[in-house]
Subunit: 311 residues, 2 copies
């Protein structure tokens, strides 16, 4: 079961966090970019090669302390074919280094098309990923082709209450219901429970999880109550404004049930004042490691205070 592997990896590293690999080119250290601009006339090739080198250094830097990475495919798609090659190489390098991959792809389409996407990402058509995010606007028949793969050790995180400001436009609408918790994200929570009920692993969690943003702590509490078995993928910590206090209620009382993501906050740490004074640009990876350790310790401290540590 995917979720069991995820939990075991979190326990092994004593760290319920994930590093988002969203490689905007302005996050890549200049010395790496310049090297590739000098080696390659083609700008796309130079930048994608620079991104791959950057990603590999990040993976080398955090692989002993972090359980998973979350590459956001949009930043690779933005470079077309060359970018997607780097996405694949990054994923494979991460897997080879023992990291669990949560690919942020947010695909969502009707049945037979969803099957094509699932083939692309779970059956090696394009890559062979551990888990992906999917978008639920089209309902159950857009989800099942992905969750069907949970019986083959794959995991699915379904968007529920996302971290962005305008998540309210649709997700916060109140439906006519006898249930007091009547927002769309509540309804989605119940659906995610249903879709995940056949894939419960040995620790009581499902391989069908939910994306719940750190930026809405109250909403998160209500979703934790509704979905006691879903693993939460929590974006929005760090650069987007979520704190350890904001994310602690994503966890159950057993100290499990969530993995907290930070992207820019970790991979761009060396550009922040607090690290710039300590590390040179060529030591950017030391800033990344320190930021990743700080995030781990920050969340573990809060977890110990409010829930318990599962390790």
């Amino acid at each position: 079961m995917f979720v069991d592997k995820l939990i075991e990896k979190i326990k092994e590293k004593k760290n319920p966090t994930v590093v988002g690999l969203d490689p905007r080119i302005n996050l890549v250290p200049n010395y790496i970019k310049e090297k590739h601009y000098n080696q390659q006339q083609d700008k796309i090739k130079a930048e994608t090669k620079a991104i791959l080198e950057y990603n590999k250094i990040i993976i080398d830097t955090i692989k002993d302390i972090v359980p998973c990475i979350k590459p956001q495919i949009a930043f690779y798609e933005a470079y077309g074919i060359e970018g997607l090659k780097v996405f694949k190489e990054t994923v494979e390098y991460g897997k080879d280094n023992g990291l669990i991959i949560i690919a942020d792809i947010k695909r969502g389409d009707i049945g037979s098309t969803a099957e094509a996407y699932a083939k692309a990402y779970f059956a090696g058509g394009f890559v062979d990923l551990d888990s992906v995010t999917v978008s639920p606007y089209l309902g159950e028949d857009s989800i099942i082709p992905f969750t069907d793969f949970c019986s083959q050790d794959k995991g699915v995180f379904i968007l529920d209450k996302t971290s962005n400001k305008s998540s309210k436009d649709l997700q916060d609408l109140e439906i006519i219901s006898t249930d007091k918790e009547n927002k769309i994200y509540h309804v989605m929570g119940h659906l995610i429970n249903k879709w995940g009920s056949s894939y419960i692993g040995r620790y009581g969690y499902s391989s069908v999880g939910a994306v719940v943003g750190a930026t809405y702590p109250e909403e998160m509490k209500s979703l934790r109550r509704i979905m006691d078995k879903a693993f939460f993928l929590v974006p929005g910590y760090g650069a987007q404004g979520g704190s350890a206090e904001d994310v602690v209620d994503a966890f159950n009382d057993d100290g499990l049930g969530a993995v907290i993501n930070s992207s820019r906050g970790i991979i761009g740490a060396y550009q922040k004042k607090e690290y710039q004074s300590k590390y040179s640009e060529k030591e950017f990876y030391l800033a990344i490691r320190e930021a990743a350790l700080n995030m781990r310790d920050d969340i573990n401290k809060e977890l110990k205070k409010c829930k318990k540590l599962a390790w």
Copy 2:
């Protein structure tokens, strides 16, 4: 304006339809597949090359009678890098042959990530498309990075009421509202109006359109009332069960406002009994042409009866 170009192309061809290029390998004629299996040891390369040849023959066959094509990217992504190369080549071949491209990508992500996707599909990062479909689960900030490109002659079709069976799971939920038309797809209709209001072209239509399935004619009528300026992209005609009678209310009284898609029903026509008796496998393109003409005539006949012909 994208929508003006679309309308002019529809008027020029006297045909408000779009052919969906969803190249499942079992739709590709055997003689094409066998040729490429013989030329290529690598299965992926053979199949993607077969698909490209098939797509090009389809485009050659319909380019004088149909205004647009709608490639569904999932079927290309399912083949990874080789498939995505064929997606790009197909799109470029279609554009070179004067067809408007509606790429069915259904992307949807938070602000800065949506910008990366828009860069990929509208600014040539990956390809340079005329229009795309997007998914609205994340709300306005996931949409604006795409609609911003409408000022640069691009078009966006936002999922509203989709053609699949489980579209009801989310899209049909009733929200608390003083409005009697209180389903999620109604709410989305009003949002699509708002997002499209700055991009109205010379015929009174917006470059921000809506995806509304042919399989729900009553829902379509109510959405046509709510969104008088949005162009509807209508999947679900043909293979999915929608008839000309079902789709006619996607049009306004001026005979404009919708483009009706058929995918398998056209590109797989030669596999249907009615065409198999007339055409050999190597004449599959004649079956495709006849099916495309039949679709055009079927819809125009109904339009003439219930609305008017705009040409």
